[in-house]
Symmetry: C2
Subunit: 478 residues, 2 copies
């Protein structure tokens, strides 16, 4: 192979699509390269639970045929054709084991594809395998007692974040090009921040959740994890849209998210919430996030403070509602309490806690949700997006229960969920984009939260910021 | 007055509108007649909690001016102009006390009108007063410890049914022409069946609930109570439609419900549920309802059996959900537990029971709701409406805790709510139309449940049935 492996393993969808279109490399060669890398390096990060090598090679051969049918210089209008990807293991894949990181589902082989998965397959993407995750997506570390912990490629004694930890780790380690994850309380954005990838939680209803193992249905979102903002835009455009199989999916028009990035971004307004987001931050996270805001100002941002007073109440309300929804879902599926012994203690205790939530507390939580959404709506009269860190700390050590911020101990879970959950609670779109490395060499993430169904603006701002940094050129050495 | 009082007191909106248009009577004369009747007879039935005599006369004078502006033979296109009506006392009336039958609201004077009330006022209807009801609409008898029990005009030792008991009793007793009520678990239909009026619970979202004291928001409906099906159609057409003040109100086009009644009804299909509705019935109710079905067959109905297996589960699920929603609402309003001592024991106990419902039970109930709605949808592939009695018994005695059906004791509340609640749970439209008198001389009601937003079909079937009987000519003697 003439091209250096790193130039392929850490390339974006767009770069690889160009190489594939020019026949500089074939889909089969690319797939073999990634399968070999997984073979060599997955044990270091435990990013993949299932590697679908044979199916991947077959898909690569089909992509190869599709390329050879494309005669002449016709531009490749399907950038996913022949691109090796992964899927979080709570997205159904027909004929391929889908564990959701749970012992209870160790033998579950779906008879249908998740809609997002099917759309990727229809576009000719090559599935390398299913990625590790927090059990049932019900946790934020991706430490997994049943299948082994996902480990952060930047420091293998640290968590990837979760619950889509395997997806972010696989991209960061150059074991796949892109992935699809799910996000109920930060599960796309937190691992993206902690592993240095781009993670987008779309607007509620933007992407079908058909064929995902549900966690808390009014919080659950499917979205892309990628190496760059344009890649996330491409993936979102592919998986978005109304799906008859998901009654909560929206019939909103799916824009050309990738195309929107080429329009110049001039003046835009960013809101810094007075409450919650910028209060308790690790000093390195604060330094990098503040620098990012200054960078955004250089790119045309007018930054002002906005107020979202119900943010504080919303953290408990969102916890109450999601606890109840998760327990209800596991009861309705027949897993809980029937298979209680097969859960990790952590998830079992959370399901038990969900049984204790009263309906009036649940309904009071829905009132808080409405009030918070009204406050965000009001803020969006004045600003185009909210800016905040994605996580208040870089990746904690595996097994740590607490992190220390400003000398104060705080649980890993509330710390990592806290800044992401509001966008799940309100259904507003939110993106995490790499925001530089701490002095220890750990990645951090900058979060942008936008108006409902206005992912385009988030992607454009994130891309404007991303373009001025070379962080994507830095790769972990496993 | 040349026209006999009974011909006016028991006339329909349509009949009175014709007399008013022809100047056979004036709005002020009509209003005075009804105010005098209320003065003489309200003490027998306790239908009105507040009589707004001065405001009524002022409105009648305004209507009189509007009539005199209408020169020549121009047909009256606003049938409500000058018509004396009442409103259930849980509909806000600006400047007029609105108690919701509750001691807690004894001094509550709203600063805005309920949307349904405002639409009536805008049409020139004359408000005679606010009608008695079950405390906070949270009961099915209209027995009221704070303001006295509503009494059935057909037998004053019997309940009116509830919670809109005063509205139905006022119409039945000739104390107003029509009324607007609310229906959370049969509260429009049950008093209509027990007092011999027509009561329509529209589709959820069809009529704005803005300005009603809420009970269980996902079950609450505003709708007409009237002397005839055409009157109910006229009122529905007036109060229906999207309301920016009620985000749950639907933007569906409001049809000409009254006009639809003039189209001939030929063949139509009625479904008799296999489950629940036709099982436990008082023998007189059964005799009259079976006769009504035979009458409908004579009018072109093809009657077939339909199956709604989740009906049984739905009764408990609906109870759980509405208990929780009611308690949440009273907590959010600050009434409960702060003013616990000011509730009747019955309502207080129900609010306490609502505190005990868990969120997972609430969510499981929502699943049952979806399944039941799917079963109704499937049934409506085969039939145009479901037919059933409205209540399994005629009006019970005031103070009775139980009724006896087939030798079995059953609580008054589950008996009266049981056949109505499914339409609240699913949001499907349902009408109760008089169905003849028991040998004891008590009215009964026939219920028709229809497709979402297809009130027209219900009204047409009810009207075809109603036209062939003279029950509207029979009046109670107080």
């Amino acid at each position: 192979m003439a091209i250096h492996e790193d130039n392929l393993a850490f390339a974006t969808i767009e770069e690889l699509a160009a190489l594939l279109a020019k026949r500089n490399i074939s889909p089969v060669e690319l797939t073999v390269l990634f399968l070999q890398r997984i073979d060599r390096q997955n044990s270091a990060v435990n990013a993949f639970l299932t590697v679908t090598a044979e199916l991947a090679l077959a898909a690569a051969r089909r992509a190869e045929k599709a390329f050879s049918r494309k005669r002449g210089a016709s531009r490749n209008r399907n950038p996913l054709l022949g691109i090796p990807v992964s899927l979080k293991d709570n997205l159904w894949t027909r004929g391929i084991r889908t564990t959701a990181g749970a012992k209870i589902l160790r033998d579950f082989v779906p008879t249908a594809d998740a809609t997002a998965a099917r759309k990727l397959f229809d576009a000719g993407a090559v599935l390398l395998g299913k990625t590790n995750m927090h059990e049932f997506a019900y946790g934020i570390t991706s430490s997994n007692p049943h299948y082994g912990d996902a480990r952060n490629p930047w420091a293998c004694d640290r968590i990837t974040g979760g619950s889509s930890g395997g997806s972010a780790a696989a991209i960061a380690a150059g074991l796949c090009v892109a992935s699809i994850g799910t996000d109920t309380g930060g599960s796309i954005r937190v691992p993206s921040a902690l592993c240095g990838t781009v993670g987008l939680k779309p607007t509620f209803g933007r992407v079908s959740v058909f064929g995902t193992v549900p966690l808390a249905p009014s919080f659950d979102h499917v979205g892309p994890i990628a190496r760059s903002v344009p890649d996330a835009a491409i993936l979102l455009g592919l998986i978005a849209g109304r799906d008859p199989l998901d009654p909560t999916s929206s019939a909103r028009r799916v824009e050309d998210f990738r195309g929107a990035l080429d329009k110049p971004l001039r003046k835009f307004r960013l809101g810094r919430p007075h409450e919650h987001y910028w209060k308790k931050l690790d000093s390195e996270v604060r330094r990098l996030a503040e620098a990012a805001v200054r960078d955004l100002e250089k790119h045309g941002a007018v930054v002002r403070e906005v107020s979202l007073p119900h943010l504080i109440d919303s953290l408990q309300a969102a916890t109450d509602i999601s606890l109840a929804e998760a327990t209800h879902g596991h009861q309705a599926a027949g897993f809980f309490p029937a298979d209680a012994a097969d859960y990790s203690k952590e998830v079992r205790q959370r399901l038990e806690a969900g049984e204790q939530i009263t309906a009036v507390k649940y309904l009071a939580g829905l009132d808080v949700r409405k009030r918070l959404l009204a406050e965000f709506d009001a803020a969006f009269q004045d600003v185009d997006a909210i800016v905040a860190p994605t996580a208040p700390v870089p990746a904690p050590l595996i097994g740590a229960d607490n992190v220390v911020i400003d000398g104060e101990e705080i649980g890993v879970r509330p710390a990592l969920v806290g800044m992401c959950r509001p966008a799940n609670f309100t259904g507003l779109p939110a993106i995490s984009v790499p925001c530089g490395f701490t002095r220890e060499g750990l990645p951090t993430g900058l979060q942008l939260i936008g108006r409902a169904f206005d992912e385009s603006t988030l992607l454009r701002i994130a891309h404007a910021y991303e373009r001025t940094h070379e962080w994507g050129q830095r790769h972990p050495r496993l």
